[in-house]
């Protein structure tokens, strides 16, 4: 009988033994702990030291030798497809340069720039004063490059009859003051607000430019029941499926399965404009912004060549192909 029970509670016996062993250690094996702790600390110290050395070595490699270079590029999910397309094209013409591109959000990219784990950070917003201070503290001098422009499209389900909103209505929807589509000329349906997570530059831009209408004194935040989805695709798929939903996303990400809403600005509330390359260039579409790349220090060597190429006509044509707006 006892044996059956023993098999039964194997898991717990192990746990209890662990607890017993733990108390035994605390009382009698303190020496072993100290020795082991010492070893671990030495190992950890070794790890951090080699970790700190690595980026410096990378930098010197890149600046001193132009024969082969490795550029790390991380950040904004809005820019990631564009950055990938650029990297692929650039590596075809210059096979000696290899570029790795990852997403994660503007905040993620800028914090890895500050932690020296990436060479170029992509950001869909400008670096914040706090981030700049942290970078200066880490001995860096971040440089800003405007690499493209982007419109933020407001999207709804194709079944939703609403096809235009003033920017003020949009602001009130996301503040939680308008909760039914009826109030803006739609059907009697609840409004489900979708947004990117707070680490997204698009989120921060939308908060400033739309919810607060550019007023820096305003401390309003997103309505608390706004759904914060971890990816652009998450927003597109929920809007595609749900006729109650409203979302926003970079123009380059909008697919034909969702409907874009025409927006009017504060000064011309009865002129509704759909986002496109043309309306961004002539500034008639109001929710548009610059896209940035940041380097740790004034760029040299392979990084400088790459950034120069990005601003060339060839690279800016890729910008147009992907649905963004070129700088020049």
């Amino acid at each position: 009988m006892d044996r059956a029970h023993r098999d039964n509670f194997k898991e717990f016996q192990i746990k209890i033994q662990v607890l017993r062993a733990f108390s035994a250690i605390m009382h009698t094996m303190r020496k072993i702990l100290i020795v082991l702790g010492g070893i671990i600390l030495v190992l950890l110290a070794g790890c951090t030291r080699s970790g700190a050395n690595q980026p410096q070595q990378n930098n010197s490699d890149i600046s001193s030798t132009s024969t082969s270079a490795y550029i790390q590029n991380a950040g904004s999910d809005t820019i990631v497809n564009l950055a990938l397309a650029w990297a692929e094209r650039y590596q075809k013409t210059k096979p000696e340069v290899s570029i790795s591109v990852t997403g994660g959000g503007s905040g993620t990219g800028l914090s890895s720039l500050i932690n020296k784990t990436t060479d170029i950070a992509n950001a869909s917003r400008q670096i914040s004063p706090e981030e700049l201070a942290a970078a200066k503290k880490a001995g860096l001098n971040p440089q800003e490059f405007v690499i493209a422009r982007d419109a933020i499209a407001v999207i709804v389900n194709p079944e939703n009859p609403v096809d235009h909103l003033t920017i003020e209505q949009l602001s009130r929807i996301y503040r939680g003051e308008i909760n039914n589509w009826q109030e803006v000329g739609g059907e009697d349906r609840p409004i489900v607000r979708l947004s990117r997570e707070t680490n997204s530059g698009t989120h921060v831009y939308f908060l400033d430019a739309v919810i607060r209408l550019g007023n820096s004194e305003d401390k309003t935040i997103f309505s608390r029941d706004t759904l914060l989805l971890p990816s652009s695709e998450g927003i597109i798929s929920e809007v595609r499926d749900n006729p109650n939903a409203i979302g926003y996303d970079g123009l380059g990400y909008v697919t034909s399965e969702v409907k874009m809403v025409a927006i009017s600005g504060l000064k011309t509330p009865d002129v509704y404009v759909l986002p496109s390359a043309k309306t961004v260039s002539d500034n008639s579409y109001v929710i548009s912004r610059n896209l940035y790349m940041y380097t740790q220090n004034p760029p040299t060597g392979a990084i400088k060549d790459y950034l120069d190429w990005i601003l060339s006509a060839e690279a800016q044509q890729i910008v147009i192909n992907l649905g963004f707006v070129p700088v020049k």
Binding site: S111, T198, K219, I221, R224
Partner: protein
């Protein structure tokens, strides 16, 4: 000869000892790290802010209540969903199913446990979310309930596999005695086998709860992540944000040492305490039960 043997033995037992102790050391180091990074949050962020109901860290709102409430609600609902299915499947496998079926079903359940949760989350987004919205006429399918159903699915294999082992370990003499006394099969299962395997079954449930509490990816994908305090009767059918999802989605952006960073580690401490509480209560239940069983049998 003899001496060499003894020294070889002691070397090996020494190595094993070091392995055992080092794992404890690692756990202690992790705990110390958590405490070192997370506890300053209590000093640097006012308590009134930590226990408010607004979570919007980029503007300095650090209310933890919506996150704690979200995690608890989703975990408890997931347990309620997983419990009958998990124990039912375990009873069927151990007591009712013919041997050939059992040999197919048990590995299948164990494969289910091996499916990465991000895959389940993906299926959840494409299938479960639209289904929930239409079935319950909700504003959106990205709700706490969707997360609970998915978490239930994730917890079921854990519960089945451990509970089934526990039931299998009940001596056949118990069942034979029950049947010999004229009890039906169901009466034997409900009155004899399950009570005899009670502790193992409770262990299974506790481990299932632990699995549900710690799950991140699948929950993050389907619960909508809106930090709203679940204080209404229909909160389960509204979007919620869990503690694990918050850590996962925000850890990448914080600069180390900031208030936001400390609060995220503080959430980690809370999660650690919660799972510790689950483990301790499970082991308390099992030791108490064992003592009673031993007393009766002796």
């Amino acid at each position: 000869m003899k001496r060499i043997k003894i020294s070889g033995d002691s070397v090996i037992s020494g190595v094993i000892k070091v392995c055992g102790y080092s794992s404890i050391l690692f756990v202690t180091l992790i705990l110390l790290f958590l405490l070192r990074e997370g506890l300053p949050a209590l000093a640097n962020v006012p308590l009134s802010s930590l226990f408010s109901t607004i979570w919007y860290p980029i503007e300095g709102y650090f209310g933890l209540l919506p996150l704690i409430g979200g995690s608890l609600m989703v975990t408890i609902s997931a347990t309620i969903i997983a419990l009958p299915f998990g124990i039912g499947t375990a009873v069927y496998l151990s007591e009712v199913a013919p041997n050939w079926l059992k040999e197919i079903l048990k590995p299948v359940v164990e494969i289910l446990a091996g499916i990465p949760s991000v895959v389940l989350g993906f299926i959840g987004i494409l299938v479960l979310v639209p289904f929930m919205r239409k079935a319950f006429h909700l504003a959106t399918g990205l709700t706490g309930f969707t997360g609970a159903v998915l978490l239930g699915l994730i917890a079921i294999p854990t519960i089945v596999s451990i509970a089934e082992d526990a039931l299998n370990n009940v001596p056949p003499a118990y069942r034979q005695a029950g049947l010999a006394l004229g009890a039906t099969r169901w009466q034997t299962i409900w009155g004899v086998t399950l009570p005899a395997a009670k502790t193992g079954v409770i262990t299974a449930v506790m481990l299932g709860i632990g699995r549900a509490l710690g799950e991140t990816m699948a929950v993050m994908m389907v619960t909508g992540n809106a930090p709203v305090l679940p204080d209404k009767w229909n909160s389960l059918f509204l979007p919620v944000r869990t503690m694990t999802a918050t850590i996962a989605s925000e850890m990448g952006e914080v600069s180390s040492g900031s208030q936001h960073y400390q609060v995220l580690f503080f959430i980690g401490i809370l999660l650690f305490l919660l799972s510790l509480m689950i483990n301790i209560s499970a082991s308390l239940v099992s030791t108490r039960q064992r003592k009673r069983a031993e007393r009766i049998l002796s």
